[in-house]
Amino acid sequence: MGTFWQFVVTGLLVGAIYALIALSVVLIFKATAVFNFAVGEMMMLGGMFFWSFYIMLKINIFGSLVLASLCAVTLGMAIQRIVLRPLIGQPILTSVMVTLALVSVFKGLDGLIWKNMPCGFPDLLPRGGWKLGDVHISMDLFWAFLISIFLIALLSLLYQRSRIGLEMRATAESHQLATAKGLNINRIFTVTWILAGLISMVCAILLGVRIGVGPEMANYGLKAFPVVILGGLDSIRGAVVAGLIIGVLEQMVGGYINPCWMEVSPYAILLIFMFFRPHGLFGMERIERI
């Protein structure tokens, strides 16, 4: 039973980070109707920004966090302004393709600036851990979990209670109606992409403590997609719940069946799940009319 709880706890802790990554995808989708395939690459770049300031330039942690955030904000704004703004209102395939093209560009940028090198990360979060019965909880993962949950709560609060959150929800409902009501949707899109850039950077740092930053990080972005779809594309609650579920399931598959299948298990589960609930756990079921 001990191993079982170990898998559950580790899964939940990792799952919170997945949930945070998925949340950035969901936020962008809700506001701008674009599915951000490049989330893994945005994480990669965000992590590399932080690494450059913290390790390479040896700036202290707060300074480098601020500088890296500035870079992430610029990245988000640049994506919105240069690439996505001319493509508002285009068909689905266009928005899929444009973010896939961004995947390619960002991979290249990583190579151009940082030579695609995997970079070791410092002991940013406290190491070690403690035992709870048979269950070992590692300290860094626990801290990452706490930070993720805190950020998820903060984002939900922002989304549900603040003025800009209200505007974002209105935009998500309908771009045209939001414009008609006098909202500047370009500004809201920009804010959303900035948020996404920041979330990606934080996720990259949290994961980077454990696995380092670099090209590998992009694969963690790929884990966000099953989470997003499982939870329902337009549901924040769904992203969180599905993140935890996928985290636990992945650990179970890795522990009980075969570690080889750990990477693809979310996708396999997703394929089966799609047959029963095509709109995800909490996603809105769209009723279509001609």
């Binding site: 989708f29 599915f35 690439v83 001319p86 493509l87 285009q90 689905i92 395939l93 266009t94 899929v96 393709m97 444009v98 896939l100 093209a101 961004l102 995947v103 390619s104 560009v105 960002f106 991979k107 290249g108 940028l109 990583d110 190579g111 151009l112 600036i113 030579k115 695609n116 790929l222 997609f225 099953p226 997003v228 779809i229 594309l233 075969n258 080889c260 299948w261 990477e263 693809v264 996708y267 396999a268 997703l270 394929l271 799609m274 047959f275 095509p278 709109h279 995800g280 279509e288 009319r289 001609i290």
Partner: protein, 351 residues
């Protein structure tokens, strides 16, 4: 000039349905066929290699064009279906030594069936959900190749594939295999052209434009979506089979997500929903990448950027080209070609 008449006036339906309608078309067809099959006479091996690669990838992109361009179903896993065809064809020729064409068709059919399995959710999901489902196909298939049957597929190691044996001749060199790949590519393009102008093709287009309306009009959406998935992955499988014999060794790395993205990119750049577009797109992207590799990267490397950094230019250029096309010419090269043709026909008048 016979090709510059003010219009083509058909007297029979059979004339109206022709692909090659004027003697200029026929002359161009014959000239281009002669050109393609005499390539080995005047091109160095390196360019024959490129021609072969273009020929193979055109087949895969053509399949994707039928699914994504004509039926409107997004497929982010074309490379995985290509892998199914490649491994099936390779394993058949290694273990059973069937004739090549049978292997190739078997590879195509097995890829098609796998495509149908992953296309099943398309009945209920669409748009982004479908994109992720096909992305799942990409990862699941590759994981099955690596971990599922490592004894058969060699797992992470490459699988050596014997050269094609056809009619007692062994097609080993790039020059030889050109005469296998090009007829295959031309046949597949011809089939694609004919699929999309029959009733099946019109059903596909109806589904793309509005699937609910299509269903109301009596089109069995499920059947046609699955058929489209089958055709798409069949094309990928044929491309994969050729790829396996052409490379001489296959590994899962040839069929990663990036290659699927490349296929989509070729489709976008060429122009979706156009047979000529898929051809143009594949040629354009591959030649562009080659130019970047041959000329741009050495120049930047020599300018003090270093080799490692300069190679990163290739994905950047690819991504930027797609973005530029999406923003400025979403209908792709095929549309530019149409404009060019119209301009030429109307010259010297502007309209």
């Amino acid at each position: 000039m016979g090709g510059l008449r003010c219009g083509i006036y058909d007297q029979k339906y059979s004339q109206d349905m022709r692909i090659f309608r004027t003697w200029v078309h026929w002359a161009l067809l014959i000239l281009s066929l002669v050109f393609i099959f005499t390539l080995p006479l005047y091109l160095p091996v390196r360019w024959i290699y490129m021609a072969n690669m273009i020929g193979i990838l055109i087949i895969a992109v053509q399949g994707l064009n039928i699914l994504t361009g004509y039926t409107g179903q997004i497929n982010v896993g074309q490379a995985a279906f290509m892998a199914v065809g490649a491994y099936t064809c390779a394993l058949l020729s290694i273990h059973f030594k069937f004739p090549f064409l049978i292997n190739l068709v078997c590879g195509g059919i097995s890829a098609g069936l796998v495509g149908v399995v992953f296309g099943l959710p398309s009945l209920r999901v669409k748009g982004f959900y479908l994109a992720i489902t096909t992305l799942a196909a990409q990862f699941v298939v590759i994981a099955l190749i690596i971990n599922g049957f490592p004894d058969l597929t060699g797992g992470v190691r490459a699988l050596l594939v014997p050269p094609i044996q056809l009619g007692g001749k062994s097609f080993e060199s790039q020059r030889d295999i050109l005469f296998i790949i090009m007829p295959c590519a031309i046949t597949m393009i011809y089939f694609a052209k004919n699929i999309v102008r029959t009733g099946v093709g019109r059903a596909f287009i109806a589904i793309r434009d509005n699937d609910l309306a299509a269903e109301v009009m009596g089109i069995n959406i499920f059947r046609y979506k699955l058929l489209s998935f089958f055709i798409c992955s069949f094309y990928a499988g044929i491309a994969g089979g050729l790829w396996a014999h052409w490379m001489g060794a296959i590994s899962y790395e040839h069929f990663d997500l990036m290659r699927s993205i490349w296929f989509l990119g070729m489709l976008i750049v060429g122009g979706m929903g156009s047979i000529t577009g898929a051809v143009f797109g594949s040629i354009f992207i591959l030649l562009l990448d080659d130019v970047v590799r041959l000329y741009l990267i050495p120049v930047f490397a020599a300018m003090g950027l270093g080799v490692v950094r300069s190679t990163a230019l290739s994905p950047i250029v690819f991504g930027l080209v797609i973005i530029v096309f999406l923003i400025f010419e979403p209908r792709g090269l095929a549309h530019l070609w149409e404009i060019l043709k119209t301009r030429y026909r109307l010259r010297p008048f502007s309209y």
